[in-house]
């Protein structure tokens, strides 16, 4: 049954306007879907990229830390630095270059910090050595823990007793 209605003394036929409504609603839906899809893809890309970068950084930092390795070639006590000092010679036996940023002397008995030495130019290439005279007024029999810190956050520890 054909429906009609009147408006301002004009008769309108509803059957003739149905197709237009479909097109409009489809367009609206598609637009909404597109916008939502684009937004979701954008969010997805952005979120994943951030995630990737974060993982990348964590991963490379941890991997590089694993590859860092130092051995203490020799540690010897001197009295002519001038004054007393401790010579610390270490070698990079890992596969990556590293930067020594700090050497800390700890009392082996009380664990109190004795001296901290900071370095800004102590890079060691693989298979190379780094030697430093750490000025410290050691006395015979001193039990000293030596901790070497690298830029990547590794710590290498050894213990010596002053002659």
């Amino acid at each position: 049954m054909r429906k009609t209605y009147w408006k301002n003394n004009k008769q309108f036929n509803l059957i003739n306007r149905r197709a237009l409504a479909n097109v409009v609603t489809s367009a609206i839906i598609l637009s909404a879907v597109s916008i939502m899809g684009v937004m979701m893809l954008g969010w997805s890309n952005s979120s994943l990229a951030t995630q990737k970068q974060s993982i990348e950084e964590v991963f490379s930092t941890q991997t590089n830390k694993i590859h860092e390795d130092i051995i203490f070639d020799n540690i010897w006590f001197s009295t002519t630095c001038p004054g007393n000092c401790v010579n610390v010679t270490m070698s990079n036996v890992g596969t990556l270059g590293l930067n020594v940023t700090e050497i800390k002397f700890i009392d082996g008995g009380t664990l109190a910090e004795l001296e901290i030495f900071t370095y800004t130019n102590a890079g060691i290439m693989p298979s190379e050595s780094f030697s430093t005279n750490a000025t410290y007024p050691w006395t015979s029999g001193d039990d000293i823990d030596i901790i070497v810190f690298t830029e990547r956050g590794n710590q290498f520890t050894t213990q010596v007793i002053a002659p």
Binding site: M40, N74, S129
Partner: protein, 842 residues
């Protein structure tokens, strides 16, 4: 609504695709990350595995005779090892740290010699802590000569703890390496000091045995043995304090041995001391040089036994000649006085670095190889030597170096042939070759404008060229000058060099001339090592100095009517040898052919058994005479450089002598070292020293080379090498205070293999040539007299003549003597004397 269903599917698909793509992308990335991480872990694990697989051992560490660090590092793992560096720190010496970069890769199973990588001077008396670092970070710590600052587990025992007077006690000193960090000790040297209790006398008879341990690993034990004889009253004795070289101060142990009465026998006070053991004895105070090298720390033996065998000739300018006494078996005091080494040697003719001459007349003998002949020293002229005509006069001294020379009076000369291979072995002619000639000459004032000194070419032969050194050339302008000239076309095509300036040489003083023909048409003249003139003439058609007729080399004559009035002390010629330069000419002029021909370096030292120097008695150069190998030529035989080295007459004798002003005391186990070495070749004539030659012509005092130290108390022991089939004679000395007899039963000589598994014994045969047997004791040995005890060959069982299959085999043995007897007060004596290590030959 039905028409929207398709759209819903599309929308759903889009979402699905977006979600799936995002998920896949994330999963893929995650997988990649995990993969990379795994690879990274694998790489690190491989590095850690390599580090674990890396193994190297320091097989040995020692000190060379030149006190350099040496040792062997071996790769004992399955992968290559890079030895990166070695740190050396002198113990108890701060700031003595040294780092040596090595950087050598050792393949699995291969070794690295430290001396090739590390040049480090060590002091044998000091201790060193060392660290070796590998490329992968392994560190080996070890100590040389020192246990560093750590205590070691030490033990000492005296066995027995109670002994009768004059009996021995054995001190065993053990060391356990219980240091932390698994450190290894290298060159472990014990030290035992003794303190007498009361008035006891402590004699160290042997030890330490061994002298040192080359290395002591973690947990390993070193044991050193000492044997002491104690003499004294009851309850006297000895305290033994033991430690090791360079130990920490508190690281020592102590034990005590006391003298107690033994009631089962009364002991004689008579004391016999063993001095030498040899099948042949000559003197107690002479140490002959031997060419045997066994049982020395690197070099030759020297002891009182006679030279045995064909002998050897050594040239210290090529290889230093160190001679070592054997370890003294009791404390030995060498009284201050004269050390005298008589050397049998002949000299080379020129210093090393200067070409050997083609012939050389040193004029150190007269009428050698027959009346009227003068021998040549190289041996290159085969038969005639130089023949005197008119009798030039020979003087044994008075030359430029107080050596021999001939005087020519103007009517005499020497001449020789230069024309046949049968006479001159290498060169029949000067020909076209480069050549040069050197002479020492002295000419008194003369008015003659031409006097030939040495010359090739007979002036009377019309077809001979000339080559000569002369005073003047016949012209007034060159009167008194030295002229060196040669011709290649009889009397024409002359090349001449004349001494420069107004200096004349007829001044009756010695001067040295070298005329050089670098090539044809060129000449150079040196006088007293200084270049005078160098000439070069235009080339011409001939270049052959042809002087090949009979009697065509002259000294003091030109073959016609001109003679020399003067003296010639040496005449050397080099033919077909590259021309010498100004440096060689200067060195040749300064080479001494008389009393200072050779500056050999002599070293006399007291050392440990392993050669570590304890005291230097002499260490300096000493001048030796030039010894012409032709000097002893006689009517029947000519001797020269080509004569075999085992010919007695080739050698002359001269002494190295030094006098000491203080005594030297050799502790048990120490040695005397006498070394002849070489400091410089410059103006220094090498010598060839004969030693260990048993030729019967070598008779004291002109025996095969030896050294005679001042009086030593007791006398020097000998290396004991004897034939398994021979009887062996032991020299002993009765120190008194009483005379004594030896008994047959109980006097034995024992050899024990070094591993202690087998022993051989020998029965006594004679004492001072008088038989000793079960029916007869020895003849009486008065106080302060020697006793030569002769033993039968060694066997197992010991017997008078053991068959060959029961005789002691060839080898190295520990030797000990058991002496049994009684003195003229009726007391018995029993004594064991350790003789150290001996060698049995066949």
């Amino acid at each position: 609504m039905r028409k929207h269903r398709g759209l819903s599917a599309v929308v759903g698909a889009v979402f699905l695709v977006a979600v799936v793509v995002s998920a896949l992308s994330y999963v893929t990335y995650s997988m990649n990350v995990l993969g990379t991480f795994s690879e990274s872990l694998i790489t690190e694990e491989k590095r850690q595995q390599d580090k674990q697989d890396e193994e190297f051992e320091i097989m040995s560490v020692n000190i060379t005779p030149a006190n350099k660090l040496d040792g062997i590092v071996k790769n004992t793992g399955q992968i290559p090892v890079e030895i990166k560096s070695l740190w050396i720190e002198e113990v108890d010496a701060l700031d003595s740290v040294k780092k040596f970069n090595i950087g050598t890769v050792i393949a699995p199973g291969n070794q690295l010699s430290l001396i090739s990588s590390v040049d480090f001077d060590m002091d044998p008396a000091k201790g060193y802590a060392m660290k070796m670092v590998s490329g992968r970070g392994h560190i080996k710590s070890f100590y040389v000569n020192s246990p560093s600052s750590q205590n070691l587990l030490l033990n000492i025992h005296a066995i027995p703890e109670f002994v009768p007077s004059e009996f021995t006690t054995t001190v065993l000193f053990t060391i356990v390496n219980n240091m932390s960090n698994n450190n290894i000790l290298y060159n472990l040297i014990p030290s035992v000091s003794t303190t007498a209790i009361g008035a006891a006398t402590i004699d160290q008879l042997s030890g330490p045995t061994p002298v040192s341990y080359p290395s002591l690993g973690p947990g390993e034990i070193a044991t050193f043995e000492y044997v002491y004889q104690l003499t004294g009253d009851v309850d006297e004795g000895a305290i033994f304090d033991a430690t090791i070289a360079n130990a920490v101060a508190e690281n020592f142990v102590t034990t005590t041995t006391l003298i107690k009465e033994v009631t089962i026998a009364s002991n004689a006070n008579t004391a016999f001391e063993s001095f030498m053991l040899s099948s042949v004895q000559t003197g107690n105070d002479i140490l002959y040089f031997h060419d045997n090298t066994e049982l020395t720390p690197g070099g030759y033996q020297m002891d009182g036994s006679d030279p045995i065998g064909g002998g050897s000739t050594g040239n210290p300018s090529i290889t230093a000649l160190p001679f070592w006494s054997t370890n003294v078996t009791s404390s030995t005091v060498v009284i201050n006085g004269t050390w005298n080494s008589r050397l049998a040697y002949y000299s080379n003719l020129v210093p090393n670095g200067i070409s050997q001459p083609s012939f050389a007349f040193m004029f150190e003998c007269n009428n050698c190889r027959g009346t009227g002949h003068t021998s040549e020293s190289t041996g290159n002229i085969s038969t005639d030597d130089f023949v005197k005509s008119g009798g030039p006069t020979w003087h044994s001294t008075g030359g430029p170096h107080n050596d021999g020379y001939f005087s020519y009076d103007g009517n005499d000369y020497h001449s020789a042939e230069w024309d046949a291979a049968s006479e001159y072995l290498a060169y029949q002619d000067i020909s076209t070759n480069p050549a040069y000639t050197a002479i020492w000459v002295r000419i008194p004032a003369t008015t003659d404008n031409y006097m030939p000194i040495v010359r090739w070419g007979d002036e009377n032969e019309s077809n001979e060229d000339e080559y000569e050194i002369a005073l003047g050339d016949g012209t007034l302008g060159n009167h008194g000058k030295i002229v060196y000239r040669f011709t290649t076309n009889v009397d024409t095509d002359v090349t001449t060099c004349v001494s420069t300036g107004s200096t004349v040489y007829d001044t009756n003083t010695w001067f040295h001339v070298i005329g050089v023909r670098p090539a044809d048409d060129q000449c150079t003249l040196y006088i007293d090592g200084i270049l005078q003139e160098s000439q070069s003439h235009a080339p011409d058609s001939t270049s052959d100095v042809d002087v090949d007729d009979p009697d065509d080399i002259f000294i003091g004559f030109n073959g016609d009517a001109d003679y020399l009035i003067g003296d010639v002390a040496m005449f050397m010629h080099w033919n077909n040898v590259a021309a010498l330069d100004a440096t060689d000419a200067y060195d040749l002029y300064n080479t001494n052919y008389g009393t200072n021909g050779t500056r050999a370096h002599f070293t006399l030292q007291r050392t440990t058994g392993t050669g570590i120097v304890q005291e230097t008695i002499y260490d300096d150069n000493f001048d030796l005479n030039f010894h012409d190998p032709a000097k002893n030529s006689d009517t029947n035989m000519r001797y020269n450089l080509q004569t075999n080295d085992d010919t007695y007459e080739k050698y002359s004798f001269y002494n190295f002598t030094t006098i000491t002003s203080s005594n030297s005391t050799f502790a048990i186990g120490e040695r005397l070292k006498f070394e002849i070495s070489w400091d410089s070749d410059t103006q220094n004539i090498p010598i060839n020293i004969r030693f260990d030659d048993d030729d019967s012509q070598f008779v004291l005092p002109d025996a095969s080379s030896y050294i005679q130290p001042p009086t030593a108390v007791p006398d020097w022991p000998s290396y004991t090498t004897f034939d398994r089939d021979d009887k062996v004679t032991l020299s002993t000395f009765n120190n008194g205070p009483l005379g004594a007899w030896f008994t047959y039963q109980g006097t034995r000589f024992i050899l024990t293999t070094l591993d202690g598994t087998t022993s051989y014994g020998s029965l006594v045969d004679k004492v001072n040539a008088t038989s000793v047997n079960e029916d007869q004791d020895s003849i009486y040995i008065p106080n302060q007299n020697y006793a030569a005890i002769e033993f039968f060959p060694f066997g197992n069982p010991p017997q008078i003549q053991p068959p060959s299959n029961q005789r002691v085999p060839v080898g190295t043995y520990d030797a000990a003597i058991f002496l049994s007897g009684y003195d003229d007060s009726g007391n018995i004596f029993l004594k064991t004397i350790n003789l150290g290590v001996i060698v049995v030959t066949d």
